[in-house]
Symmetry: C2
Subunit: 414 residues, 2 copies
């Protein structure tokens, strides 16, 4: 089955909104084994949309339209498609009830225009909107099939996943499906990993290997095309083992939703260890990142943000002569910050950050110079110096990631 996605909205053509809907639907259709051949964006213009529908009919079996289901006169997707198919729009009673309930519970009155949102294609299967008002539709034609979805991602996503996707499986069955596994790496760049694995990436057709660079980490998405889950697992296990034979040193976890901080918090819990921090450069970003993980309170009591020399002295009790002697951006101060914080918070580990975020140099140290220390209850303090590049935000973000990885390796004795 060949599919294409048409997003309707002038705001997309003006560059005011990114077309993440096409990405989301593409991923969802890939999971069902339905191949997407085109994405198109067109403005709120009936003539151009009608021309696109004629073109889409000639090349695709399934045409997914998103956007243009709102209450205003600009919102014309349903009207154009109904005209194109020679059918009527009809009011959907369930959607009308849902709308009455919505406005009943609010001060805002329903306007006559809102009624447009509960109109749907005659003969189509209505797709209820759990998170909004505009109803969607799946229309099975003789040759082509159409799905209409609302534009706001908060409405489109649940409608696609909960309503449209199960109907597609029911009506068309799922053929060869795509199964993905994401491997996450820290400490190696995308260009290096691609160079190391060049031959594998090039020759590998099933599973495919797709590298993706995120700030300070690289993920590899390996995707198998199979008829069942068991053979997908076998294929993915095999190629994963080949990849880790080369890059295992940098691998830290699985999954699109995983992260270095989640891995670290889980390791701390597993080993029943706790951590604190003293942050100059990063000013709380490391601790905030740890606390992004639910249940972190088990392993993290709190810590210090010591941005100025005075707070390093007053909060942590660091001797001012030490700062004068070594400079605040130094191996020595990073080490003592971590050690003092660990003692004060009485934890197993403490991570400390001092460095130059820029834009200006500090005490003769260039922008990007960073010292990170991990103090340990049962072990020596580990200190690393880094020279990060790019802007302030990137230097601080890179430092947080490096601190997380140093802590991970300390816990694992790596």
């Amino acid at each position: 089955m060949k599919a294409e996605i048409i997003a309707v909205g002038t705001e997309l053509l003006l560059g005011q909104v990114v077309n993440t809907n096409a990405t989301f639907i593409s991923e969802g259709l890939a999971d069902l084994g339905i191949e997407v051949y085109y994405h198109t964006v067109v403005g709120d213009n009936p003539k151009r949309l009608e021309e696109l529908l004629v073109l889409a009919d000639s090349r695709s079996d399934l045409i997914v339209l998103c956007g243009g289901l709102g209450p205003t006169d600009d919102d014309l997707t349903k009207n154009v498609l109904a005209d194109h198919l020679g059918i009527q729009l009809v009011r959907n009673q369930a959607a009308l009830d849902h709308m009455n309930e919505f406005f009943g519970s609010r001060d805002r009155p329903m306007t006559p225009n809102n009624i447009r949102q509960i109109e749907t294609l005659e003969g189509g299967i209505p797709l209820p909107n759990r998170t909004g008002l505009a109803i969607g539709s799946l229309y099975l034609g003789e040759k082509n099939n159409y799905i209409i979805l609302p534009g706001p991602p908060s409405e489109l996503k649940p409608m696609f996943s909960e309503q449209a996707a199960p109907l597609l499986v029911e009506k068309f069955g799922v053929h060869e499906k795509l199964t993905s596994r994401v491997l996450r790496f820290y400490g190696i760049g995308e260009s290096q990993i691609v160079t190391d694995l060049a031959e594998m990436i090039e020759n590998q057709t099933n599973p495919t290997i797709a590298p993706y660079a995120k700030p300070n980490e690289v993920t590899l998405r390996i995707t198998a095309k199979t008829e069942d889950d068991a053979s997908a697992k076998t294929l993915l296990d095999q190629v994963e083992a080949e990849i880790l034979a080369v890059e295992g040193e940098y691998f830290y976890g699985y999954g699109d939703d995983n992260s270095l901080e989640e891995t670290v918090v889980n390791l701390l819990k597993e080993h029943q260890k706790s951590v604190t921090a003293a942050e100059s450069l990063t000013a709380g970003a490391f601790q905030a990142r740890l606390a992004d993980v639910p249940g972190v309170s088990e392993v993290f009591p709190g810590g210090f943000v010591t941005y100025s020399n005075e707070t390093k002295e007053n909060f942590l009790g660091i001797d001012s002569t030490l700062i004068e002697e070594y400079g605040v951006v130094s191996k020595e101060i990073a080490g003592v910050m971590a050690e003092k914080a660990r003692e004060l918070a009485n934890t197993d580990y403490a991570v400390a950050f001092t460095g130059v975020a820029g834009p200006d140099p500090l005490e003769g140290q260039p922008k990007g110079t960073v010292f990170i220390a991990v103090a340990q209850k049962d072990g020596e303090t580990v200190i690393e110096q880094k020279a990060f590049s790019r802007d302030r935000a990137y230097i601080r973000q890179s430092s947080v990631m490096k601190g997380l990885d140093m802590l991970r390796r300390a816990i694992l004795n790596k």
Copy 2:
């Protein structure tokens, strides 16, 4: 001049990458007064790309192609376009020199395939690639004009802004141009602002008013279409005044790159005031956000992350009986956290956060319950209770924004 954008890449159709390039180029073309009528995404398939070029020729004056300029056999954009135009690809000497220099300074050897990246359209204007290897091109045809840009945003963006856009102005002149101004609001939702300004948004054609909801704030982009900058300013000033007459209470600043934290840091500098923080719920996120702003050290010495009861007692000196009496998520504890932190850091203001990020309730308080306090050297402590919804990340982010706004209002005595 009518334009369209064609992005080439199977990864886009698989939903693995979002097509942010089309958004970026659209915005850039809008600034030049060039209207974009279509975005299309097509896979790495010569036949489908050639069909698209035939279609694009029939409807657009300027066709911008992005992606598919890499060194591998999948990368075929230039070859398909050259065939389509009946011209040759030629090597570009400057790009070859740049490439030799690049590989000369690295361990990585140049592979024969890399040569493809320095080939460009015969008779076209080469677009040097400051941040990568693949050269781009502007080709002025008899009827249609073409721009070829590399796929990675880090290469595409500078090539478009620094090379392609100035050439477009030189070759075609800039006609009526679009000038935008962004107004930023905190404390009001998008639906409310759209309701309040419904008539204005609907009837206003020049400037247009486009609302955009970001997490915890709303921006209005007002865009004027004029021949010169002075008339743009007049139009924008006028509609801004009308908007602020209704929503002035929530307005905090201008600009796409502005933020509540930048506004607050600038206000602190202006008033020569300093701030610290004691963060439970937000665990450093408030302080890290402040320190996103360069030069924050003038107004922010550091602060505390007091996630557990023990650190509230040990770091801030809060009496444990107080926590027992009122509960840790309470108006009283928020207030005393702020006051103790302000004394310890000797600042003009201190902001404190305590609350329930979830997923589970705490001490009988439901997820989303938050108390935020601002202690002041010259004034009473201000404390607000909020009930935020959604997930952990959103509750913490909402709290940071609310704390920033409370601090902003405290500085302004609002």
